[in-house]
């Protein structure tokens, strides 16, 4: 098995090795922290000129997942755009690619700290979204009900010297890895992340196949 299937608050979820969450019963695909337009924002703000291919690469990887799973619903868990200006300045060909992905399905943009307001792009812009006992929001809340799915932290885990983005979950909470191409990360065992979970928490590493390790060892 290349993915990792698990039960979470009575939903059967699948952590895909590409870094997205698939909820088969709801035909729902969820990705977090796309940070579209990041290289543009860096060039604009600091003058650092990193290769301008990140948004294209992120959208192509998302398109592959959508082609494979044909979801009815897609949720982008916040920080989908590196800032609102970056969202407004996306190239026409990228906007077109994005429009073809959105067409024909329910598309939910959860707002994040990088993209707090709606952009002129198809889909519903929401602060959070609930379905069948699961709550989707950008940042995990300190005291939340069971069934919260969030992003924001860009968790990473390393084993045998290999460091990869990872999912983190226990029985109440799930945090997704960042899906965007140019995204750094925070070690999942760092207290900022680890303190959100109990001792049974696991980290599911992304890559060519999902590898599960205890979150504390991440």
């Amino acid at each position: 098995m290349f993915w990792h299937d698990f039960d979470f608050c009575s939903a059967q979820l699948r952590a895909l090795p590409a870094g997205a969450l698939w909820w088969g019963d709801a035909k729902l695909l969820c990705v977090s922290d796309l940070h579209l337009g990041k290289s543009e924002r860096m060039a604009r703000r600091g003058g650092q000129l990193v290769p301008p291919y990140d948004s294209l690469e992120t959208l192509i990887r998302l398109k592959d997942l959508i082609d494979q799973h044909d979801p009815e619903t897609v949720i982008c868990l916040g920080d989908s755009f590196d800032d609102l200006t970056a969202g407004q300045r996306l190239d026409a060909n990228l906007l077109q690619l994005l429009a073809t992905l959105i067409a024909g399905r329910k598309w939910i943009w959860i707002t994040g700290n990088h993209d707090p307001g709606p952009l002129d792009i198809q889909g519903s812009w929401l602060a959070e979204f609930k379905q069948d006992g699961l709550t989707f929001r950008h940042i995990a809340q300190d005291t939340s009900e069971a069934g919260e799915i969030s992003g924001h932290f860009h968790p990473k885990a390393s084993i045998r010297g290999r460091r990869r983005p990872c999912f983190c979950y226990d029985s109440r909470r799930l945090i997704l890895p960042a899906f965007g191409t140019y995204t750094g990360g925070l070690r999942a065992s760092d207290p900022v992340i680890a303190n959100l979970f109990d001792s049974t928490a696991r980290a599911v590493m992304t890559g060519t196949k999902s590898t599960v390790i205890p979150l504390r060892a991440a």
Binding site: H4, E40, A43, R44, G46, G47, Q48, L49, V50, P51, P52, Y53, D54, L56, E57, R89, D91, K156, S158, I159, R160, G161, R162, R163, T181, Y182, T183, G184, G185, L186, R187, D190, T200, R202, T208, K209, T211, V212, I213, P214, R216, A217
Partner: protein
């Protein structure tokens, strides 16, 4: 000599006489040649080079004490700059000169640096990195306007890295600002003085002065009662014998090739030090304070020995060192000669040195190196053209100083030795990279760091100067993390590589600063450890890469093996070993390639005596095993040393020739390189030097959160969308020269011209046997590795009481 002395002004003659000193002929030659535009002095370590270099400056300032910067001195080491400042204090005081001498390095305070720009001293002592920053200021023309002399110390060492390229670019800037300034390079013994002269000059030939090399060194191999082990690089077997030598001498420097072996050897020495002789440890992973303490103790003569790595190849001269010991094969004759020169700095006394082979094969290499030293047969690979990542950084720094015209800057850059043949197209590509990123996707008008206004390139946003200046330099240390004791005074013991730290599990032990410590946790980018009573550490492999034996020395070893008449110089055990090899198989020969096959247990072995150095043979191993896989020969793994490559698998190779075809190997190389970790590491360094990735950001927090994404992602993105980008080209060029070292494989294949001797031996051969014991075996990647990862993850889950 008296006539020669007469060339000095009276006050200086008197001063030499008062001190009872006789100036060396080369010191006087420097004074006579003071007006030569470009001068290179080659003298063995300790020939009083540095002070001699300042003599013309002092004479000039004694007669003509104008204010303003007169002489700029550049050294590779901050400590050396500070040391020179102290050493110059005595003569200037005794000669009654009223001049200011100051150093300017990373350690100089902000206030001092500002003042130096407003009111420069007569003599400024600095490093290439600090100089690069200085020329990036708008007031650089005013600071350097009156400059008369430039002294580059230890130029042989600077020329070996990108620091030298950076320095030469900065110097050609200075030549524009102060056209009459003359240059003086000071160098230890090198194999090709004219090449170093060309590196230093602005185009006119450099005049070379070679000082008397002094008497031949007293150098020999240390013969121990027990023969060295068959494999290994630690030299621990010789600890007792070396301790005897330390006792017999006043001060001994013990050079050892890697930091990890230095740690282990230091421990081995202290384990048999009944008299508690003061012995110190010095290597690049130790904290600055720890190193400073050892250097201080050495300077006052408080230490009897220092176990050190290349970290002491340069630096302050210690007159009292009377023995240099090299543990492990020297790998490179030139470096060995320079190390030997650290003993007995009094000019006419022979330096005394001992070579200690760490294993049986190294006995042969040590013998070959010893002969090379006596014959003055130095090695060294010619310098390639100046690297473009360094040029990109230079262009950005020049932009910080207020802009440039492309034509003028191109002419100026070509006055730097390493960039003399730089094609205009490559220069323009670098300017384009600095201005817009140089991406194939041109639609991005917002990608603009430099703007061209009326023919002048300047920064779009002047605030970018701070970020550019914060990220200059070409010294690319591997990412390291400090190691501290948990609790207590939190004193740093030293540093380990980030990748090493990532492999540590709580409970693991490793050696640092001569003690075994227990890994506890990683907190805020610091490795926290505690004391442990355990004696045997999980070995600390701080440095992944090892130096490969030089081409010249490999050739000498190969020739030596093929010349049985010379074997009598070797210890008996080694002679016997070589004779056994002759009887069972044959000796490798320089113009042919010996390939042996034999079975051992269920495994077929293939041993290729390539003599091309560790890095090249490692690459050859990866390429050949890939081809073996394609041909269904089921390779399982391989190991490479400087001399041979050993591959094992399930099937015997009966015809090695198709595996060694140069063209197919090169095709394989191109495919393999693109996804290789070596390439990513090379890319990361180039991307940092060219300021694509910023290492330092203003107001950076140490939150443990990766400030930026990894450079591997940028590499993968460029490979996919922009494979011909400038930085990708730089990466490919460098990888082939450096760690991949494919040039040496091609050189070997060219040399043997298909003359392959295949020996099917009945069992493992004497020369191949040590390879079976080598560490650093490489398993063939593929299904096997994923299985390993899976097993490790399962074990972790099980230990944690969790089920996947």
């Amino acid at each position: 000599m008296l006539i020669a002395m007469a060339t000095l002004p009276k006050t200086f003659q008197d001063w030499f006489e008062r001190r009872g000193w006789q100036p060396h002929p080369h010191q006087l030659a420097l004074t006579e040649q003071a007006k030569t535009a470009s001068l290179l002095l080659i003298a063995p370590t300790g020939g009083g080079k540095t002070l001699a270099g300042f003599l013309p400056t002092l004479i000039d300032l004694a007669t003509n004490p104008e204010p303003g910067l007169h002489t700029l001195y550049i050294s590779p080491l901050k400590a050396l700059a500070a040391d020179i400042r102290r050493n110059l204090a005595t003569p200037t005081e005794e000669l009654g000169l009223d001049i200011r001498i100051e150093d300017r390095t990373g350690d100089t305070s902000q206030t001092m640096r500002k003042r130096q720009r407003v009111d420069p001293p007569h003599i400024l002592l600095t490093t290439p990195e600090s100089l690069a920053l200085l020329i990036s200021y708008e007031d650089a023309p005013r600071i350097f306007r009156g400059l008369k002399r430039i002294i580059v110390d230890e130029i042989h060492a600077l020329a070996e890295s990108k620091r030298g390229d950076q320095l030469m670019l900065a110097l050609s800037r200075l030549t524009t600002l102060a056209p009459d300034a003359v240059r003086l390079g000071l160098s230890a013994t090198v194999e090709d003085p004219p090449a170093l002269g060309a590196f230093l000059s602005t185009g006119t030939p450099t005049k070379i002065i070679e000082a008397d090399p002094g008497p031949q060194p007293d150098i020999s191999m240390l013969i121990t009662q027990a023969p060295p082990p068959w494999a290994g690089t630690g030299g621990a077997y010789a600890a007792c014998a070396i301790m005897q030598e330390i006792k017999r001498h006043k001060t001994t420097l013990v050079f050892i090739n890697t930091r990890a072996s230095a740690e282990l050897f230091f421990q081995a020495l202290w384990a048999i030090n009944p008299d508690n002789l003061p012995i110190g440890l010095h290597h690049g992973s130790l904290s600055k304070e720890a190193r400073g303490k050892v250097e201080g103790a050495m300077a006052t003569g408080a230490l009897r020995a220092i176990v050190c790595t290349g970290s002491l190849d340069l630096g302050i001269d210690w007159g009292d060192v009377d023995l240099v010991i090299q543990v492990g094969a020297p790998k490179n004759v030139k470096r060995l000669v320079q190390r030997i020169g650290r003993a007995n700095h009094r000019y006419n006394a022979p330096s005394k040195a001992l070579l200690v082979p760490a294993n049986r094969f190294e006995v042969v290499e040590c013998q070959a190196a010893l002969e090379a030293v006596m014959e003055h047969d130095l090695d060294g690979d010619p310098r390639g053209p100046g690297p473009l990542d360094v040029l990109c950084q230079h262009i950005l720094l020049i932009a910080c100083s207020g802009g440039f015209q492309a034509d003028a800057l191109y002419q100026e850059v070509r006055k730097a030795g390493p960039y003399r043949d730089l094609p205009r197209a490559e220069f323009d590509q670098c300017v384009d990279y600095c201005a817009t990123g140089g991406y194939a996707l041109k639609a991005y008008d917002r990608w603009q760091r430099l703007k061209n206004t009326g023919g002048t390139w300047h920064l779009r946003d002047p605030r970018a100067t701070q970020r550019i200046r914060m990220n200059t330099g070409t010294i690319m240390d591997v990412e390291t993390l400090p190691v501290r004791m948990r609790g207590g005074r939190q004193r740093a013991l030293g540093e380990v590589e980030e990748s090493f730290a990532a492999t540590l599990e709580p409970g693991d032990t490793f050696l640092i600063g001569g003690q075994v410590v227990l890994y506890e946790s990683l907190r805020e980018m610091t490795v926290l450890v505690s004391r442990t009573a355990r004696k045997n550490p999980k070995i600390a492999v701080f440095m992944g890469t090892k130096l490969a034996t030089s081409t010249r020395l490999s050739q000498r070893v190969s020739t030596f093996l093929d010349t049985p008449s010379k074997w009598s110089a070797l210890p008996q055990h080694t002679q016997t070993w070589l004779k056994q090899q002759q009887a069972l198989s044959q000796m490798p020969r320089p113009d042919r390639l010996l390939v042996e096959t034999f079975w051992r247990g269920e495994r077929a072995h293939l041993c290729i005596y390539g003599f091309a150095g560790r890095n090249a043979l490692q690459t050859l191993g990866l390429l050949i095993t890939k081809r073996m896989e394609e041909r269904g020969l089921d390779p399982l793994g391989f190991v490479a040393t400087d001399y041979a490559l050993l591959i094992w698998g399930l099937k015997e190779v009966t015809d090695p020739a198709p595996l060694l075809d140069a063209r197919t190997l090169r095709d394989g190389l191109e495919r393999w390189l693109s996804s290789n970790a070596v390439m990513k590491r090379t890319f990361r360094n180039a991307a940092r030097i060219a300021c694509l990735i910023e290492r330092n950001l203003p107001g950076q927090r140490k939150s443990g959160k990766q400030a930026t994404f990894s450079s591997d992602i940028l590499y993968d993105t460029l490979l996919k969308y922009d494979p011909d980008h400038l930085l990708m080209k730089i990466t490919r060029t460098e990888a082939e020269r450096g760690l991949v070292d494919f040039g040496r494989i091609e050189e070997m294949l060219h040399r043997i011209e298909g003359r392959i001797d295949l020996v099917q031996a009945p069992h493992v051969t004497p020369l191949a046997a040590p390879l079976l014991l080598e560490v650093g075996k490489v398993p063939i990647k593929g299904a096997a590795q994923d299985t390993l990862l899976e097993q490790e993850a399962e074990a972790l889950m099980k230990d944690a009481g969790l089920t996947a």
